[in-house]
């Protein structure tokens, strides 16, 4: 695959033969049928995604953290200064952030893709420079990105996914960094699910009631402007509301599906990207697994829209890919059950009496 258009064209459907084969095998293993609950459903889903039974163990190699800045920060939607995006990228490259710790714990590395940070970043190990633009425009006032920038950001995500899969990744994990990015995420989720801004806008990294009310108004202004501009095509809505890392994540998700590799989705930013990806490439959500339920209300709205039920619910609201990383062992455990457990026959265990 070279770009987003190719990835979208290659997107298929989960393989029902492989899925059924794994389901049948699960019923021969030394446990009461169905007793591993969602692990069994996950294993079946992963077989369908890979088109192989048993599916490969979902090893990601690395977590891909897409970073970008947001012009909408000018509206006072976050108590954190924009420079923190670049500072956190440096923290990721130095190994000190939460995602570094949780990725290491899941035996994965971290790669950071600068798709739109509003600062010149020094080269560093683990940093991929793919800057499309130095931060988006203010979505409350004008389109966050041009059509060309949107296409370029989608293509960045596709290229990163392709590179990881070529290097052997059998799972893609979505990560994100961008001060202010819960605002475009809320706007995109509202636009694509039809929910009210107030129903999908959350408190992000921590704001009070007054700031929250202002943030809702900012999302409403972005939605009203987008509607007034008669923007309806998914690409144009994405361009209008941004952001660069969200667009790249949408490309990343579609490319994962096209490569028949499961995409483990993190919090509200990744869910917004998933909602965009599903609008751009219908069916790609069937290649996704929701890692966790962020406490951001937009995350739950987006997951419901996508028909995804999260594996974990631990009141997280950090992003970076942290919730997805925490869920990875569950996903891997589901596959290892299929690949490694003994059957009733092989273990000489009596089956349930009819």
């Amino acid at each position: 695959m070279v770009d987003f258009v190719d990835a979208r064209a290659r997107l298929g459907r989960p393989d029902q033969v492989a899925a059924r084969s794994t389901a049948a095998h699960l019923d021969r293993l030394t446990k009461p049928r169905g007793s591993l609950g969602r692990l069994e459903a996950l294993a079946v889903q992963l077989a369908g995604i890979a088109g192989e039974s048993p599916p490969p163990v979902p090893e990601p190699g690395v977590v891909a953290v897409f970073a970008g800045d947001h012009g909408v920060l000018a509206e006072g939607v976050s108590p954190w200064p924009a420079e923190v995006t670049a500072q956190m990228v440096a923290n990721f490259c130095a190994g000190g952030a939460a995602i570094n710790v949780l990725a290491r714990h899941a035996r994965a590395g971290v790669v950071v893709i600068d798709v739109g940070v509003a600062a010149d970043l020094s080269p560093a190990d683990g940093l991929v420079s793919a800057k499309v633009r130095a931060g988006t425009a203010n979505l409350a006032e004008e389109p966050a990105m041009t059509a060309e920038e949107t296409t370029a950001a989608l293509d960045v995500g596709v290229a990163v996914a392709d590179d990881l899969v070529t290097k052997g990744a059998r799972c893609l994990i979505t990560g994100d960094m961008g001060i202010g990015n819960t605002t475009p995420s809320a706007a995109l989720i509202a636009a694509f699910t039809g929910r009210a801004a107030s129903a999908v806008t959350g408190r992000g990294t921590g704001i009070g009631d007054d700031e929250w009310a202002r943030k809702v108004q900012v999302v409403e202004r972005g939605l009203a402007r987008t509607a007034a501009e008669a923007t309806v095509e998914p690409e144009a809505v994405l361009a209008s509301l941004g952001g660069l890392e969200i667009a790249a994540l949408a490309g990343f998700i579609v490319a994962g599906g096209a490569a028949r590799v499961p995409v483990l989705v993190d919090g509200v930013i990744a869910v917004a990207a998933g909602v965009v990806a599903e609008a751009l490439a219908p069916g790609c959500a069937s290649f996704c697994v929701a890692g966790h339920r962020s406490i951001e209300p937009g995350a739950s709205a987006g997951l419901e829209h996508l028909g995804l039920s999260p594996l974990l619910d631990l009141d997280l609201r950090l992003g970076e890919g942290t919730g997805a990383c925490l869920a990875l062992p569950v996903l891997q455990g589901a596959v290892r059950i299929v690949r490694e457990m003994a059957t009733f026959d092989s273990a000489g265990v009596s089956d349930k009496q009819a």
Copy 2:
């Protein structure tokens, strides 16, 4: 510690100084305060349990699977024949069961403790022979165990916990095997929480409506007999309703708390043991972490009674320690966050604006 009486006498309380120190450190790390949700609360709990800040990484070394048989199987409460307990012990020792796979995935081994299997088991690697009695009596008709057997089973659990902690375990994981053991678990949970038998009796490994109604009646008979015998002391209630592996698990839990090592609790069997342990040694639940929410109704009732909120909710109903093993990476991740993340100062990241 030599026995259960010693363990109970040594049970202390979580250390609030260590807990506060870890809470304060979490607020200096490069993330919005509180944004790691339950992971932060877990890290604080573990610091209090260990009396150290940061707490040690909860490495279990092995999962301890306590195995026993149940006389109540004569009442037709399970579709699985009793011989499956011994067959599954062999499967555990051969590495082919679900708990073996999930323990390996969590970088732990499996040790099986025969505290009451109704068969002579051949020596095997990973099998500890500590048989108190070859299966319990039928709890519907008579006390499942004598007072002496109950004490002996409690002591087995204490000895296993002490041995693991001496060998370096910084977390204990509860595992169980025993065809029919959801019946004594339901009876114990009903007895200690005051709930009705029908509210805490589940379908175990898979029974239909008629079998479920019969199982509820069996639990009711056990409870009525216990009440008629004027049995009120926790030890006597445990003896009356069984089982041997549940008593051993109760000892194991109390000994973990006494050693200031967190106990990661699995499904309904372990929850029943936890309810017993808390009755025998009030306060020990504060040293427990609930790994998951089993779909058995008694598990939710018992967890609520203990004030524990499970980490995972994946519709599991297998036991063996599988749900606890799946939750272990979350527990470990919480501690590694405290131990490994950079602070705002050390990483040169700007803090939130006041």
